[in-house]
């Protein structure tokens, strides 16, 4: 069972971080980073099947694939930013975490702007 492996990796990483943190706090951050990457790599292969389902649903709903691509990019940005921000917070650098989140918000907005314009145009077309 993959989930057992993932939980085991998570727990081992947590115990190690707790033990190491008192002596070498900088190693704790690195361990947390490594654990996060390993868990991500373990679930990476399974993301493909989810993508297939989402793409199938999008094609059936006759939604432009460009919109789905934008949404997936935004979700990716959000996850990566959350990951980075959490690690920064764990290391006690809340200011850096806030800046990472700020950058992610800006990037999400940049990606969302074309979609907002598209919705606006559609709504204006609806008005007789």
């Amino acid at each position: 069972m993959d989930i057992m492996q993932i939980v085991a990796i998570g727990l081992i990483a947590t115990v190690l971080i707790v033990v190491v943190k008192s002596q070498r706090p900088e190693l704790g951050v690195l361990l947390s980073l490594v654990a996060g990457i390993i868990i991500f790599l373990l679930v990476l292969g399974k993301i493909g099947s989810i993508m297939d389902v989402i793409m199938d649903l999008t094609a059936r709903a006759e939604i432009n694939m460009v919109y789905l691509g934008t949404i997936l990019k935004i979700i990716g940005i959000a996850y990566i930013a959350e990951f980075g921000a959490q690690i920064s917070r764990d290391a006690g650098e809340s200011a850096v975490a806030t800046k990472i989140e700020f950058a992610a918000k800006i990037m999400i907005m940049v990606l969302a702007v074309p979609m907002i314009v598209a919705v606006l145009q559609m709504l204006l077309k609806l008005v007789p």
Binding site: A61, E62, I71, I74
Partner: protein, 212 residues
């Protein structure tokens, strides 16, 4: 009835897609932002589905950022197209030069006085200029010793090389410097050059006749 059925089917799929995508959303601060964009996607999908019911096209133009991405792809395609086109033009020029050289050979071989073995044609390859493809220069290569290789019969009449003797201890004989090879006979070459130059409407200075 069929249209309504299709609309309801589309809406069901859109709702399922929305739920599925919402499960993917990250927790925390970012969730609100992603949810807003996802809401826009749902609005677009629902309006498009409703538009299909009324036989109206509500699909708007592609978003500007996406257009930019398309532009990049387009420019890449255009660049590769230009590259292929220039390669093709280069090949066409080469083929044109070969064709002209063959034609020049055929014309030159009318003249029986000088055995022309090859011809090189230089053409204007500047695309922008009005004289693109015009002949700049023609070089005719004449066989120095016509009897050496009998083309007509395909026989190789190469002379037999004398055996070389190496003598040790003796001073090497100093050979006199070899004089420069004279060009083809003037009258014959002039006649050939005139024929070729007249045929292509060139100046006689543009046609050269050299020994191979």
């Amino acid at each position: 009835m069929e249209v309504i059925r299709s609309l309801i089917q589309n809406l069901i799929i859109i709702v399922i897609l929305a739920v599925f995508l919402e499960m993917l959303l990250p927790a925390g601060e970012m969730r609100r932002y992603v949810k807003m964009v996802m809401g826009l996607l749902i609005i677009v999908a629902v309006i498009q589905a409703a538009g299909d019911l009324m036989h109206r096209d509500y699909s708007s133009d592609l978003p500007s950022l996406t257009e930019k991405m398309t532009d990049e792809r387009l420019s890449m395609i255009m660049e590769s197209g230009k590259k292929i086109s220039s390669e093709q033009e280069q090949k066409a020029i080469e083929q044109y030069k070969r064709g002209l050289a063959n034609q020049v050979m055929a014309i030159a071989n009318i003249n029986k006085e000088l055995p022309v073995v090859d011809a090189e044609v230089m053409v204007n390859s500047e695309k922008e200029g009005a004289n693109y493809g015009q002949i700049n220069r023609i070089v005719l290569f004449v066989e120095k010793e016509p009897g050496k290789f009998d083309k007509q019969n395909g026989k190789d009449n190469a002379s037999i090389i004398e055996p070389v003797t190496v003598r040790v201890g003796q001073k090497a004989e100093q050979k006199e410097p070899v004089e420069a090879e004279p060009g083809p006979p003037d009258e014959a070459a002039a006649g050939l050059i005139k024929t070729v130059a007249n045929f292509y409407n060139l100046k006689q200075e543009q046609v050269d006749c050299v020994y191979r």
